[in-house]
Symmetry: C2
Subunit: 195 residues, 2 copies
């Protein structure tokens, strides 16, 4: 009973932690890690300047947590979307569309933060690399399958990297109120890849 009581009281604090993570991710994407102050993040969730350090040891820790939880949430979304999709072409098209969603929809555009891992120490960078590898491993199987049955435009080694470039760079130019929908962009990217 006392445990249940403790948990019930702990819940709001957990939500505050998530609030901080979401605000941090958004600000890091907008202004970059180095240009975002912990005071910016605190203010974004209505806290005072010292309070984020009650939830996180350091600014770097906030970045690490935001990136890893974002990558894992995106990974879960990806897996859920392709579960039971047997045709590899349909699967790849779905993955591309979901990845654009992970990048550009909602408020935690975590994949765009990958470059900021240069601000972390080697141990944290390794954790992020592992989460990122898990995300990319989901793609390699589908690409291999398509290459094996000759439906990929090219199975040459850099294709997966060039594909991620097409997708990830979109954060630089995509505007939600622009002329192109995410469906259209995802279709265009798929057409470039598939034969």
């Amino acid at each position: 009973m006392s445990v249940g009581h403790r948990r019930a009281r702990a819940a709001p604090e957990i939500n505050r932690r998530d609030d901080l993570l979401r605000a941090a991710a958004r600000l890091f994407v907008e202004k970059g890690f180095a240009a975002t102050t912990t005071r910016d993040i605190a203010q974004a969730v209505g806290m005072r300047s010292g309070s984020p350090f009650y939830h996180f040891r350091s600014k770097q820790d906030l970045l690490k947590a935001a990136m890893i939880e974002g990558l894992e949430a995106g990974h879960r979304r990806l897996q859920a979307a392709i579960a039971g999709v047997d045709d590899p072409e349909r699967r790849l098209r779905l993955m591309i569309r979901i990845h654009f969603g992970n990048l550009l929809e909602g408020d935690c555009h975590t994949p765009m933060l990958i470059h900021e891992s240069r601000s972390l120490d080697a141990a944290a960078r390794a954790e992020i690399a592992a989460a990122s590898d898990r995300y990319q491993a989901a793609w390699q199987g589908t690409l291999d399958e398509l290459a094996a049955c000759g439906r990929l435009r090219s199975a040459a080694s850099p294709v997966r990297l060039l594909l991620f470039g097409m997708l990830n760079w979109s954060g630089q130019w995509y505007r939600p109120d622009g002329p192109l929908s995410l469906d259209e962009i995802a279709d265009a990217a798929s057409e470039l890849l598939l034969r």
Copy 2:
């Protein structure tokens, strides 16, 4: 005569300015604009902390100058390489290879700094956007030409943006000592685009 004399004495100072620009570009690419201090830049060229401000009004001014001069140097390289190349497919292949060179060879990988223009005021951002548009305009003609004769995989609107994504994102993963040469990467990117 006195004018000639003055010019002769001014020359070393002009070189120091260029030294600063090159060091700044390299550091901004490596660590990001906000994480690079003007002291880092001064030290990289053997100056004391206050001295860069003899050559540039502000840190932002240094970024603006590095980006614009880098973009223009890359543009000149591009134009020189495709002068007199009439076949649009060969021309596009050349442009892709030269662009990879602008990004990844030498020591001023300026195109990778585009995202840092968010750290500048609106006026400076507009100057950089103009230089960047000049660089991209050189591509649109060739893409249109290829689309007109049916040799482009797709002429849909986002293709130029996706192409630049493939190319520019390479700064995130390319390593000079890795298994892929720039020629191989350029070929792979060309194959994805051309039919």
